[in-house]
Symmetry: C2
């Protein structure tokens, strides 16, 4: 079908040169890269309880380096007083000479001098805060965990740039009086919306899914008090089934307010007392990370707007010190879950220190003794997450700080290949893929090889950024060779798809969606293959359906990547809309439209095992930003980017996508596109496919169905397209 | 020369069957192997100060695993209540099912059940104390830092037997109310012996080298008070030169007693106040490990007895939470120093948990990023120390607990070999050998290859103990091949010795004592080579002399191993006696008879840099036990052993050598040997060489100059030898 389009670009805005916001030079708390993150993740992940019992992770937890040396060479025009604060015991050296005591202030003479501050701290990550007139602790300082000061300087292989967080949503670590270990998320008081009283209990409804510390007012008497938390009314009322609870032994003569020591997820709480225990009322302290939204999306469809709103709330609830899986049960940092949160984050809060904090916590430290979270696929999402992070932020320093840990992890993986160079689950490995009935994890699963190939591509890219030329070609070749095997070993001409696995050196007959849908948006398939697989797999009802929002994320992404926004819009309204119609106030870990009532809350063989607020439920944020507004970086940090809007049947939509330089603002209707970007060079691409079918459009550029215009920073472009 | 000897064995004692002392089954605090040790070593090693400034180590400090799972399968005849205490947050599972809350008591049903206790502790090593009627926490429990509970059990590669200390001199960790992190060395008050008052200062003499916390009584006034510590009077009086000091800002209206926060080494303290600061008196809290002596040595020579006494005191002062180098300056755990302390310990306190604690602390954890203490030779002493430990104690469990760390360390070393398979110092390596003027550390030093070969032999042995048959032959072959190279590359026919090093693939001309003396007691030389090297190197004044007690240890050991006890006795009396004649109350880090006065105290370019109480100064303990009493194990844990007494010119000597089953008691005079051993099978060997030259002796067994008799446990043997 051939259409005609008149593209009319109107220059409206004024020319604003793109510039980096020049921060006033300022001291911050700095630490060894990843160390605060790992320390904090130990604390956070060990807050999980199951029916009152402590429930920690089942993989190796790592630790900060307890002794590190921070150093910097300065060149001063005049002598400068430098004040020093540290988390831990410390010493200061100027030009390798110890300054007496543990000085709060040191006078650095004029000229070129090396400053060392060496800190020991067992309990928390050693950190320093140094400030003077021109000397400031920031990421220009180097840090090492083995200073080898008596040995040849060339031995200092462990020097890295120190890490500090400047843009952390919840605090920028610029207060010398608040060392990193004092960090706590903020809380704000919230009230219940409904209370149902019974003789020995009361059921409190906070109106929607929430998270925080329950507060009991005017508690008094003697006896036991049990708090059953519920994401659903049914859960709170199930003494035997509630996933989380608190039990208190009360012996209070006078009324007292009590705050529960651990934060919990709930909408309902059921409070049951025995003896003569009484209380006046119940409220809560809502705990939040306070990341402001930068991105946005609204459109002509109010149901979709509601989905976006609930997705937004879901993602915020699950974005805390780290991007965690869900707020009720695990509250852990799972790599596969975090990977999706990162992608959503780039379109919503764009709080990228929380991305790096999460990536550091996931990776932990050497030696590698298992896959990340023990899951093979989760190791690969970690690598892919670093690629995405670099693409969305352009933060090369983080890649360099992590490169050694990337190398040791990928080398650990490479050592586990079998004789055909493929990976299969070895003892101790969990091949997860998805929660899906009967899904085989045996043999060499195609999906795992695909993620492995992508991880090797990431290694090649990051090797380049870390100036490891040999590594770049080594990993690049491994990636190419593995990608070739993917097609040689798994492509079935008969089924027109990648099959699920190989067993005993032979491909199986089963086709699943996983490898096929990823191969689409990885661009491992060519256009012909993509169209083929769309029919043979994605839109084929005989292929096992996906029931988790986790994998729906990628399934819908694959369809969007092939221009099926109209179809995906319908799916979103059905699937996420389905949860809303059941009264969801946040999106779930899993949703099966075919069950009913409280059965929706069951999972893992437990009546309320399912999380009703799960980060991976929030994927519409990502899909709407990347495939409807159609905004995505093409090179690091939005240096170049693409805007390819697709209404998918909507009358209009508008929104913003955060970039390192600020927001790209976009409005799209059936007649007009308005766009303004703060930096980078964009390509606005309009295709006959993605525009509404109503108008007659004709090509002005680059072939008959694709129209492109370059977006320069700071100008507003208004494109009207009308029938000729 | 041929002599005749009548060996008359008289059976005196009663038959006592050797038995292991059957400890009443008892619960103890247990932890992941090495974790308490590493945690404690971080604490201890970060107490070093230099003139009031914090002075930490310059290598990587490691950490305990913050999250570990202890488990044991029990089989109970009847239900049993088990009480649980933990250092950290914990949960309990019975047969994989969580017990509610953090229970102090759990009822385990009758039958076969798996108990898991999982503990998180960031601040200290996670530890548990479990006790019931038959269930006790001890080393029969397993522990892992990555339980992978959801995965195939076979993935639990990190299961190890938990560690507990039962025989720790300073506490056996059997008190449930005192978790491991509460451990402190005991202190006891001690008084000064002399005080010299001056207008603004007072000099206090404690009579001999000591260690502890200075206590100021009746402190009052306003102003600054400085305490200068001195191992010598000169040091205490040198405000500019004293290595350690305390500065206090006093503002006290009423008299108060003050104890210094950090323990220090001193004999003298000089206290200088300004303003109107006054104090009544000064005492100290002597801090000690309280390891009782098991071994002993006395003889007819009072000067030698005094040397033994001061060596004993020196070793005790340097044997604290760990075997440290010396008490004034570093107070660190140095592998080369500790190696000697261990050997002395086997002949004195035989406190072997302090040996394992020290070995754990030295090794730290993976990944290996540098040599132990950054020193190449110190890596090898660590391996050798494990061999010795096994030989003296027979503790196979420790070897198995450590085998993975041994492997990763030796493999790290193996990866650093050059193309000839030899080691030379790479960037970051410190090739130490000894403190000796002009000693070359360049190229491939023969001494390092020799220690490397011995370490590979240790690996082969320990691989066998850890059931790694492939490893045993792999490391065994590497050891043989390296030993061959030692002779191929370094033996000089012209000089009749191993030369010091190779440079650019060619042997140098220099001969030093190091490799040659070690090759003697390693038995790498044959008897002919030994005799040759004795002349060409050991007794050759043209070869650079050794001035540290550290290397004198090995030099004298080599001479003793060749029967030169008479010569060594003279050397001991001259060298160690020399320090005593200068007023030493403990033995020094280095002693050069050719300097005088306070110059003795200088080292490292600092007037009082030398440590006057250094563990390696105490070697007579080892030499007298192993080569005069002549007692040494031949197989693990004194299963078989040798007693080969040598009077070396003494009239008589008597002493005891500790073994796992108790002490071997020995008395030797010029006419009689009395011996009684508690276990194992001993060989009492008497040679014409080692017996006094006075008597006529004739062979009764095994060739003309060697007489042997088998010592069975529990009997006392009295052997009279008289001229025929």
């Amino acid at each position: 079908m051939k259409r005609n389009l008149l593209l009319l670009a109107v220059f409206v805005g004024t020319l604003l040169l793109y510039r980096n916001t020049a921060f006033a030079q300022k001291a911050r708390w700095i630490w060894y890269p990843g160390d605060f993150d790992i320390w904090l993740s130990n604390k956070v992940q060990n807050r999980r309880t199951e029916r009152g019992s402590f429930f920690p992770v089942f993989w190796k937890m790592d630790n900060h380096y307890v002794l590190v040396d921070f150093h910097k060479v300065v060149d001063l025009r005049e002598p400068e007083a430098m004040s020093i604060r540290a988390e831990g015991t410390f010493n200061v050296k100027i030009d390798a000479k110890l300054v007496p005591g543990m000085p709060e202030k040191v006078l650095v003479p004029a000229g070129r001098h090396k400053i060392n501050v060496k800190v020991f701290c067992q309990e928390a990550a050693p950190s320093i805060f140094v400030s003077g007139k021109t000397i400031f602790s920031d990421s220009s300082w180097l840090v090492t965990y083995e200073d080898k000061e008596w040995i040849d300087e060339t031995g200092k292989t462990s020097d890295l740039s120190a890490t500090s967080y400047l843009q952390a949503a919840y605090g920028d670590f610029t207060d010398p009086l608040r060392p990193p270990s004092t960090f706590r998320l903020p809380v704000v008081a919230q009230s219940a919306v409904r209370v149902e009283m019974s003789p020995r209990s009361r059921l409190i409804d906070f109106g929607k899914e929430t998270f925080g510390f329950l507060r009991l007012h005017g508690l008094k008497g003697n006896g036991r008090l049990t708090v059953y938390y519920g994401e659903s009314r049914e859960e709170a009322l199930s003494a035997a089934g509630a996933e989380t609870l608190d039990q208190l032994q009360i012996a209070l003569q006078d009324k007292r307010d009590t705050v529960m020591p651990l934060s919990k997820a709930f909408r309902f709480v059921n409070i049951v007392g025995d003896g003569n225990v009484r209380l006046d009322s119940v409220s809560m302290l809502y705990e939040y990370a306070g990341m402001p939204d930068k991105g946005s999306f609204t459109c002509s469809d109010t149901a979709l707007n509601r989905i976006y709103e609930v997705a937004r709330y879901t993602l915020h609830l699950c974005s805390r010190e780290f991007f965690i899986d869900g707020i009720k049960r695990d509250r852990w940092i799972w790599s596969g879950d975090a990977y999706q949160s990162h992608l959503m984050n780039y379109y919503l809060m764009n709080d990228n220190t929380t991305v790096t904090r999460t990536l550091y916590a996931l990776r932990g430290k050497d030696p590698v003794t298992s896959h990340i979270n023990t899951i093979m696929d989760y190791t690969f999402y970690w690598f892919m997450g670093i690629y995405d992070y670099y693409l969305f932020t352009g933060d090369k320093l983080f890649v360099r700080q992590n490169y050694d840990r990337m190398k040791s992890l990928i080398n650990w993986v490479l050592a586990r290949r079998n004789q055909d160079g493929l990976l299969e689950g070895l003892p101790g490995d969990w091949v997860f893929i998805d929660w899906a009935a009967g899904l085989s994890k045996q043999g060499e699963v195609s999906f795992e090889q695909l993620l492995f190939a992508r991880s090797l591509e990431t290694m090649a890219l990051c090797a380049g950024l870390a100036d490891d030329t040999a590594g770049a070609s080594y990993y690049g070749e491994l990636a190419s060779s593995l990608k070739k095997k993917l097609f040689d070993y798994y492509w079935s001409d008969r089924q027109q798809a990648l099959v699920h696995s190989r067993m005993n050196g032979r491909p199986t007959e089963t086709v699943t969606r996983y490898a096929n849908m990823f191969a689409i948006f990885f661009n491992y398939f060519n256009d012909v293959q993509k169209q083929t697989v769309k029919k043979s797999v994605l839109l084929n009802d005989h292929i096992q359906k996906i029931t988790t929002p986790y994998m729906r994320f990628y399934e819908l992404e694959a369809l969007c990547a092939m221009g099926e926004q109209a179809y995906v819009l319908k799916e979103m309204k059905e699937y996420w809309g389905g949860m809303l119609r059941l009264g969801a106030t946040s999106f779930w870990e899993e949703y099966n439209p075919h069950v009913s009532g409280a059965d929706h809350y069951a999972m893992y063989g437990r009546p309320f095992g399912k999380s009703l607020c799960h980060a991976w439920g929030a994927s519409p944020i990502y899909l709407l930003g990347k495939y409807y507004l159609g905004i995505q970086p093409l090179s690091a940090g939005y240096g170049t980017y693409l805007v390819q809007p697709a209404l998918g049947g909507l009358q209009w939509m508008k929104g913003e996508a955060p970039t390192p330089g600020g927001n790209i603002r976009l409005e799209v209707s059936r007649r007009q596109i308005k766009i303004k970007a703060p930096g980078g060079v964009g390509t606005l691409r309009v295709t006959s496919k993605t525009l509404p079918k109503g108008g007659n459009i004709s090509p002005t550029k680059k072939g008959e169905n694709i129209y492109e215009i370059t977006i320069q920073p700071g100008r507003e472009y208004v494109i009207n397209y009308t029938a000729i």
